[in-house]
Amino acid sequence: TVGCVAVDSFGNLASATSTGGFVNKMVGRIGDTPIIGAGTYANNLCAVSATGKGEAIIRGTVARDVAALMEFKGVSLKEAAAYVVEESTPKGNVGLIAVSAAGEVTMPFNTTGMFRACATEDGYSEIGIW
């Protein structure tokens, strides 16, 4: 799976995800990527793209939960994403990338690793696997 989230200096947000799914998946199986709110979501608060075990991500409405925690509980993007990945999704199942309208970035995962990268206008950038 691959994905990208971005926010501009005006707070406009977007998310995109694309995948081939599981190795050896059944013909006709649909994963979390195209399910709005599961593997991909954006609203006026944040943009999220997820990767991992689709069945777990759909069940956990992972991407929407990040936005909902920000919307209804008022927590930051990092806190919302950390809660979803660490507390509400089984270990070894999910990683996500997210940006907020305020320009925050977070890339938590509970799998062994996730190929990931980010950059912000203030000059910060990061590339990582584990």
Partner: protein, 185 residues
């Protein structure tokens, strides 16, 4: 407040011992795509255009599980899916694609050119032809590495998420649930 971008190339059981032959092309691809995204944001490209641009690059890179390089179904075929969404909650999604070179761009066309948000299988393929997006024979998307991964996964009777290493053949007697292979994730 300023611009920001993040991207991923998949998560899973990536072993610390991942060989340089597999790791370095992925790192280079991620770095290349980050550069493209940053330059686009600096040029005041809209976030929607930026995420589509970056994901197209990742789809075109055979080292990632999307577009060319997509992993295979039990029948040895590819069935690709993609989704795009913006902060106005406009969105488009596609599933079951077998010939579309860049599924993410077809998802955007679903968002912008139809009253719907999700097209799948034959309908999505027909829409792709109607819109004139680039298509290629399914064989274009299938890499030798993914044929080998499918064969190993079939041998072990399990599905695999990105980067999961194939189980040793001796382990195939374990229950699917013990391998995290069940519907419970």
């Amino acid at each position: 407040m300023g611009w920001a971008i993040a991207l991923h190339g998949g998560a899973g059981g990536i072993p610390l011992s991942l060989s340089p032959e597999r790791r370095l092309p992925c790192e280079a691809g991620i770095r290349h795509c980050l550069h493209i995204g940053v330059e686009a944001l600096k040029a005041n490209t809209s976030p929607l255009d930026v995420v589509e641009l970056v994901v197209r690059e990742l789809e075109n890179n055979p080292h990632f599980n999307a577009g060319k390089g997509s992993v295979l179904t039990t029948d040895g075929t590819v069935e690709m899916e993609a989704c795009i969404m913006d902060d106005k909650k406009r969105c488009g999604a596609v599933s079951g694609l077998t010939t579309v070179v860049n599924p993410i761009s077809l998802a955007r066309l679903v968002m912008e050119k139809t009253p719907h948000i999700y097209l799948a299988f034959d309908g999505a393929e027909a829409f792709a032809r109607e819109q004139g997006v680039e298509t290629l024979d399914s064989s274009h998307f299938i890499t030798p590495d993914n044929v080998e991964r499918l064969n190993k996964a079939k041998e072990a009777k399990r599905v695999q998420i990105d980067y999961t290493q194939p189980l040793h053949k001796d382990k195939k007697e374990e229950t699917p649930d013990a391998d995290g292979n069940s519907k419970l994730g």
